[in-house]
């Protein structure tokens, strides 16, 4: 399988038109992702909380370069994500969000650190705990809340729901409900990137629960065989719904489970460690094929809103993590240490964010429910002369 690149030169031209370049600013009606281009401010070095542990690779250094702007950006973005998830919790309890709702609070550092290391041309795909990744890839609050409430203004027109957020222009490929199924999809994205010679990578994210899926190892084998630029990110929050990792995996060292594929264990509550690891992984994947990053992280909420999250773990454990490893608190301490802002200023930012989220919710609530005709749109790509057909080759005329 060494000769994998005999392809007509027209394909690279095709590649540029197929995966359109993204701007760093996100879509209309939204906020700027705070750590993007602009006046950077003073640069300094931050040490990650713990050293990286490598499997079949030399781990990167613990020293991470950053700027004031990036640090403030991390604080802002993570606080926004935190507030959004908490607001979603309230909306769910008010029965405005129904079905399944999987919240990401506690894991924000992974989303934010990863985004800081890559571009919008790199692809990200994840499972159902996707609200915050959607945001980091350019989604805005209004379309998030509207989608959660099943409204027309939602990013999937109200037809996807919590588990089906996508942002094509932002290089975000979802948003998938079935555990583990997104990993082969992600390897397919990496395959396309290699086929089209784009010099970009794909981050295929999954959890400790999905780490035991067969299709993951199948996809890893193929990716390693074909040298695909696929980076597998295991967001290990230590619980697969109600089952602790030691009860589900004979070997919970997920970064080693790739066997012949190198891996890195990362403190997923430290945004800088995540950033460093993702940067390292991108360089690695472009040269040497797949790599696994295990992000040691934690979710404060239960698996989903239907799970109290306290029957399989103690409240002490949750509050301990909140006290010792909370990603936002870590960044707050760094900001205060480096005198980039005062306690009051940070509180002001949080107040501003609260207001932003409340406004977005109000705006999303104004959006109407989808029109009944939407039931039949986007089943097939137009051009077959019909919107949808079941068993009959004509438009389904059902009176609703």
């Amino acid at each position: 399988m060494a000769m994998l690149s005999r392809l007509a030169s027209r394909s690279s031209h095709l590649g540029r038109t197929l995966l359109l370049p993204r701007s760093l600013c996100c879509s209309t009606g939204g906020r700027h992702f705070a750590s993007s281009a602009g006046d950077e401010g003073p640069t300094f070095t931050v040490e990650t909380s713990v050293p990286f542990v490598g499997h079949r690779c030399e781990p990167p250094s613990r020293e991470v370069e950053t700027t004031a702007k990036e640090l403030m950006g991390f604080f802002r973005d993570m606080s926004l994500m935190r507030r959004m998830e908490i607001a979603a919790d309230a909306l769910y309890k008010a029965k405005l969000i129904r079905g399944f709702c999987h919240l990401y609070d506690g894991q924000e550092a992974v989303a934010v650190g990863m985004e800081a290391a890559i571009t919008r041309k790199d692809a990200i795909i994840t499972a159902y705990r996707d609200h915050c990744i959607f945001l980091s890839r350019g989604g805005n609050l209004v379309e998030t809340f509207a989608e959660l409430m099943g409204r027309r203004a939602g990013c999937s027109n109200g037809k996807g729901g919590s588990m089906h957020f996508y942002k094509k222009e932002g290089g975000f490929f979802g948003g998938h409900g079935i555990v583990g199924a997104q990993v082969p999809l992600g390897c397919g994205l990496a395959f396309a990137q290699k086929y089209l010679r784009e010099e970009t990578v794909t981050f295929a994210m999954y959890g400790d629960g999905a780490a035991n899926q067969g299709q993951l190892f199948e996809a890893l084998n193929i990716s390693a065989l074909w040298d695909l630029p696929a980076i597998l990110i295991c967001e290990n929050n230590h619980y697969g719904m109600g089952t602790a990792e030691w009860r589900a995996a004979k070997s919970p060292a997920y970064y080693k489970r790739g066997d012949y594929v190198p891996g890195l264990k990362v403190d997923g509550m430290d945004a800088f460690a995540v950033k460093q690891a993702c940067k390292f992984a991108k360089e690695h994947a472009l040269k040497n094929g797949p790599i696994i990053l295990e992000m040691d992280t934690y979710r404060y909420h239960g698996h989903s809103m239907s799970d109290p999250g306290s029957t399989y773990r103690t409240r002490d454990e949750i509050s301990n993590v909140r006290q010792e490893r909370d990603p936002i608190e870590r960044v707050r301490k760094l900001i205060l240490l480096h005198d980039l802002a005062s306690v009051a200023e940070l509180k002001d930012i949080e107040k501003e964010i609260r207001k932003e989220v409340d406004n977005a919710i109000a705006e999303a609530k104004e959006s109407p429910l989808p029109d009944p005709s939407e039931l039949f749109t986007d089943i097939f790509v137009k051009g077959c002369g019909t919107e949808v057909y079941g068993v009959e080759r004509k438009e389904n005329k059902i009176l609703i």
Partner: protein
């Protein structure tokens, strides 16, 4: 593959080996290992990878060495292939072609004689076509590749050796159209894939007996071409469906329901459906023969309908 560099082929032994039924013979030498990809035996993941690649704009053709093996990829085909266009609000299209041989062969055993069209037919967002001749195989394949929707193309294990003269010029057939095989007046016989040949054999006998059957190869299994089928029923008023699926939950069952829903007023006799027995396909030759519909049964059925 010449015309469009985004078309690639993925499957087991499609490259260096040339394909287990020689469908992809010669392609790997011509287009290279990056466009004709030999996958490991991992249907779930390589189908998923094909779908992921399709999300970015590539046009992969995924081969199931035998359609039955694609049952391992059912989740990918159903949830990701069929539904992604809808759940993403139209953002992503999946221009993938999933193809492979299926159907009852010559004593291949129960697990290698599956008819997957009955399982896939309820997946929303998926189009299904079945080819039956070299001419329509080429035309439908081209149409499927060019379609922006996911298409499952059902080939048949026993039809690969057919030889036919086909046009040199380029032609593309319509994915949603049925094929009029033999116009007639007395009864509409609807069939597809290998059963077409059993029907045509029975038609010879029927003509000798004085009947004039109209034979339509429906080709498009989802959606049905109710336009062509309807016109035929309005003419003959009698319908016989001959299929290779099992009686329960097969294509014939859905087609029967669609015909009754839409053309009840035009029917002079109950809609008859001849299907395979609801059994795992046995290995012994005679038993296997009795599992599927034979020409003699078709003749008897037509005589019954036309009484």
């Amino acid at each position: 593959m010449d015309r469009d560099p985004t078309v690639c082929v993925m499957g087991e032994d499609v490259g260096h080996y040339g394909g287990s039924y020689k469908v992809t013979k010669g392609l790997a030498t011509k287009y290279g290992d990056l466009r004709v990809l030999d996958t490991p035996i991992a249907e779930n993941s390589f189908t998923g990878m094909g779908i992921g690649a399709a999300m970015t704009g590539l046009r992969p053709i995924v081969e199931g060495m035998n359609m039955g093996f694609l049952l391992l990829a059912y989740n990918q085909i159903s949830n990701n292939c069929g539904m992604l266009h809808y759940t993403s609000g139209g953002q992503f299209k999946i221009p993938i072609v999933i193809r492979g041989p299926g159907g009852v062969g010559r004593q291949l055993g129960a697990e290698h004689s599956q008819r997957l069209e009955s399982y896939f037919q309820s997946i929303p967002g998926l189009q299904m076509v079945a080819c039956s001749t070299p001419y329509n195989a080429k035309g439908l394949m081209k149409a499927a590749i060019r379609s922006d929707n996911p298409v499952v193309l059902f080939e048949h294990v026993l039809l690969y050796n057919l030889k036919e003269r086909i046009p040199d010029e380029e032609y593309v057939l319509c994915l949603e159209e049925a094929e009029m095989v033999r116009p007639g007046e007395h009864v509409t016989i609807l069939t597809y894939s290998r059963m077409r040949y059993h029907v045509m054999q029975a038609a010879k006998t029927l003509v000798n007996k004085g009947y004039d059957p109209e034979v339509i190869d429906i080709r498009s299994l989802k959606p049905f071409d109710l336009y062509t089928i309807g016109n035929s029923i309005k003419k003959t008023h009698r319908v016989l469906i001959v299929e290779e699926c099992m009686r329960t939950g097969g294509i014939g069952a859905s087609l029967r329901a669609a015909i009754i829903d839409n053309f009840w007023d035009y029917l002079d006799a109950p809609v008859m459906c001849l299907s395979s027995q609801d059994v795992p396909t046995p290995y012994a030759g005679t038993l296997e023969e009795w599992t599927v519909v034979q020409p003699a049964q078709i003749v008897t059925a037509v005589e019954q309908i036309c009484k």
